[in-house]
């Protein structure tokens, strides 16, 4: 009996000892949260003409220690203000001050991204921290000149996650840092969730910065990024896909062409609506795609890769503009499906031709050749540049099928 008690006490003593040991540990890299400047968003523009004059001699002395021979960039950051970020739905303007700024937007100029960050760090007390970086907005003008430098900087930084969104903006990227949409207290988070939700609703393929990097480095594929622009009320619209050749942006699609991309890749859920004419074109039916499936086959015909795209979409009927033709039998539904197949095929042809013209294979057809026809790849392609050349002239077969599954709650 007594031994048992003493064993128990020993065990208790040990536990207390062990727990107190854990209190004694420290951390060399300890950094209080208010000592860090948490960067939520970054935007990059090409700098204005007068930027040179604004640049301070932080990373190099003017004229003596040569600056990189790159055009100046203007970099803006959105830094979270400690204590102002609402942690839950309950905390909203509790002190009655109403709309409080949650972030601080700063901008600097520099020759490279790191140079600009250095210039920024010079004017901020806390250490810049990129662990929560969610969005990077790059202006179209800058992206067309090439974003190797930006990619390199983010790739090297161990704090940056691969799940951040990189996007291309129409017009000035800085505006996206300053815009304050009403739906979300933190603007950068709103931008990120705009795209996250677009993925969830089948309006954009999941394309985080990590995916973009993987796609651009592949030999048989090029990268693409969301193309956004600011609308009325500081809102953001996803208005297409900016497609790349290497690190240079070469073109942009229309928003509906994103649906074409999703059809080719067979990504579900589907989220786009389409308009179908039936009868003598006076009646239109709006359809809503729900599911997509696809398969791409490659074979070599006359020394050139030839792709067969087999895609299936399932659609629901959402509305019609007049009552001339009732949708009450499967014949009509089949007719609608045929019409839809035709319009999807046209969409695909247009989209693929657009990318072919710029030699930007954002679909990864080249990867299919590399994977499935290695001997052809070895003797004819081998490099990304060569694939771009070939991609311009490859041929496609489209086998699009479409099925109307549901017509909603109305009987006719």
């Amino acid at each position: 009996m007594s031994t048992r008690i003493s064993v128990n006490q020993n065990v208790k003593f040990m536990i207390v000892l062990l727990l107190s040991c854990s209190l004694l540990t420290g951390c060399w890299d300890r950094m209080e949260i208010e000592e860090r400047a948490v960067v939520l968003g970054i935007s990059i523009d090409t700098a204005d003409k007068d930027a040179e004059a604004r640049e301070d001699e932080i990373s190099h002395l003017r004229g003596k220690y040569p600056a990189p021979k790159q055009e100046l960039i203007q970099l803006s950051v959105q830094i979270a203000l400690p204590g102002r970020i609402p942690l839950g739905p309950g905390e909203g303007g509790g002190s009655g001050e109403g709309e409080q700024e949650t972030v601080w937007v700063l901008d600097v100029v520099g020759h490279t991204v790191d140079d600009a960050m250095m210039n920024l760090q010079q004017q901020i007390s806390g250490k810049l921290f990129f662990g929560h970086l969610r969005v990077i907005v790059v202006s179209e003008e800058f992206a067309r000149k090439g974003i190797e430098n930006l990619n390199d900087y983010l790739h090297r930084n161990a704090e940056v996650r691969r799940m951040a969104w990189l996007m291309i903006s129409k017009g000035k990227a800085k505006n996206h840092m300053q815009a304050a949409p009403k739906l979300e207290r933190v603007p950068a988070l709103y931008l990120a969730s705009t795209l996250d939700d677009a993925v969830k609703h089948g309006k954009f393929p999941s394309n985080y910065i990590g995916t973009f990097w993987s796609n651009s480095s592949k030999k048989g594929q090029e990268g693409f990024l969301p193309y956004i622009k600011i609308m009325k009320g500081d809102n953001v619209e996803i208005s297409g896909m900016a497609f790349f050749k290497g690190a240079k942006m070469v073109g942009v699609t229309k928003p509906i062409e994103i649906a074409g991309y999703l059809v080719i890749k067979g990504i579900s859920p589907a989220g786009y609506r389409g308009i179908i004419h039936i009868g003598d074109d006076s009646q239109v039916v709006t359809i809503h795609a729900t599911n997509r499936e696809s398969e791409i086959k490659v074979d070599i015909k006359n020394g050139m890769p030839h792709f067969t795209i087999t895609a299936t979409t399932e659609i629901n009927i959402e509305e019609k503009n007049s009552d001339t033709i009732p949708v009450d039998n499967s014949k009509i539904l089949e007719e609608i499906a045929r019409e839809n197949e035709r319009s999807i095929t046209e969409l695909l042809i247009g989209l693929i031709q657009k990318t072919q013209k710029k030699e930007s294979d954002i679909f990864g057809f080249g990867e299919l050749v590399r994977a499935k026809e290695p001997s052809y790849w070895k003797s004819h392609v081998k490099s990304a540049e060569q694939w771009g050349e070939i991609y311009k002239n490859v041929t496609f077969d489209y086998r699009v099928t479409s099925k109307v599954r549901r017509i909603g709650m109305k009987a006719e």
Partner: protein, 364 residues
């Protein structure tokens, strides 16, 4: 002596597994894609086969001399002085290997996690940990490995499984890769990633049934081989071969890009690093233990405990010699290729000579 002969087949396998899985896990996919692009999983598999040849030689030798240590029976087989030179070379190799493991650990920690902590501190802490733990006898050694091996295997498999939702099969096709020329050199590089299997040498004389040693060798190789192939396949199928080539530590990047379902954890690199630190500790522990154990056998010492702190300063200085990570990797690849002589060629030669000279140890 009797309490020294208790290691079971499972324990022996666990020791080998947790020794092999170590610091190299982080750069493993990089080495594989450098050799064979999309054929990385195949190269890993072939590398495993080559490593198994070495392990096979070692295990057969060990089973032939179930009572003697590596150092002792190499003296029996090829004569006292040649055997001692062989022993000395292997001791030097494992000493250097443990210092390189400690250094690489330090480099990863300083680059990716604790940026302000001095490199010397992380390296020294790891070496101290190994030094403290290796003072005990071989049973404790086996128990420590057995205890940690599930903590290495299960989370690693979990990360691989979770990352597969971003995987694309096209990335790992064609199976042979697009450039076949790199494969032979790749097999050699990849087999060095399995070098930890040498620990079987030390374990066999302490097994209660040494005649079953081959069984643990096969299991250990199979499990680590499958784990490595899975890690390589997952990394390459998520990132693609070209992107993997751009990443210094692709496995860490994989963990960073993987999230738990429902975003409970948005990135798993913290989990992965915890696993990895354990894995590094167990491999370093083995290298360290092997070094001092062999020294004690070479000089016919009764106990190896006192050596554990004696070699610490030497290893620490060795670890600090490489100037940068790139330099470290260059040194590492030279050393580990040299290691192939010690872990595959040398035991092979010993085995053949032992057969020719009909040398055999007493059965226990």
């Amino acid at each position: 002596m009797n309490e020294q002969r208790q290691i079971t087949v499972t324990q022996a396998a666990a020791v080998t597994i947790s020794t092999i899985v170590g610091v190299s896990v982080l750069a493993l996919p990089l080495a594989a894609v450098k050799a064979a692009d999309a054929g990385a999983p195949l190269v890993t598999f072939l590398g495993m086969l080559l490593a198994f040849v070495g392990l096979f030689f070692m295990t057969r030798l060990g089973m032939r001399f179930p009572n003697d240590s590596y150092i002792e029976y190499s003296e029996i087989i090829i004569g006292k002085w040649l055997g001692r030179i062989g022993g000395l070379l292997s001791i030097a190799f494992f000493a250097v290997l443990s210092s390189l493991v400690a250094r690489e650990f330090g480099e990863v920690v300083v680059t990716a996690v604790l940026k302000n902590t001095p490199l010397e501190v992380t390296v020294l802490v790891m070496l101290l940990l190994a030094a403290f733990s290796s003072r005990r006898n071989i049973m404790t050694f086996a128990y420590i490995h057995l205890f940690y091996s599930p903590f290495i295997l299960i989370p690693a498999l979990l990360i691989v499984a979770l990352s597969l939702k971003n995987a694309e099969i096209v990335n790992v096709l064609p199976v042979m890769g697009n450039e076949i020329r790199g494969i032979p050199a790749g097999i050699i590089t990849l087999s060095t990633m399995f070098q930890g299997y040498f620990i079987m040498m030390m374990v066999i004389p302490a097994m209660c049934k040494p005649e079953r040693a081959m069984r643990s060798s096969i299991w250990a190789m199979l499990i680590t081989g499958v784990l490595y192939i899975l890690i390589v396949s997952a990394t390459v199928s998520v990132f693609g071969a070209e992107e993997t080539k751009k990443l210094l530590w692709p496995t860490l990047e994989l963990a960073k890009a993987t999230s738990l379902p429902a975003n409970v954890l948005e990135r798993l690199d913290a989990v992965f690093l915890a696993v990895w630190v354990t894995a590094v500790f167990t491999s370093l522990f083995s290298c360290y233990y092997f070094t001092i154990y062999s020294i004690s056998k070479l000089f016919r010492l009764a106990d190896h405990g006192m050596l554990s702190f004696f070699i610490l300063p030497f290893l620490f200085v060795l670890a600090m010699l490489p100037q940068s990570l790139i330099h470290l990797n260059e040194v590492n690849s030279v050393i580990s290729k040299f290691g192939l002589l010690i872990t595959i060629v040398y035991p092979g030669v010993l085995l053949i000579i032992a057969k020719l000279r009909k040398k055999r140890g007493k059965s226990k």
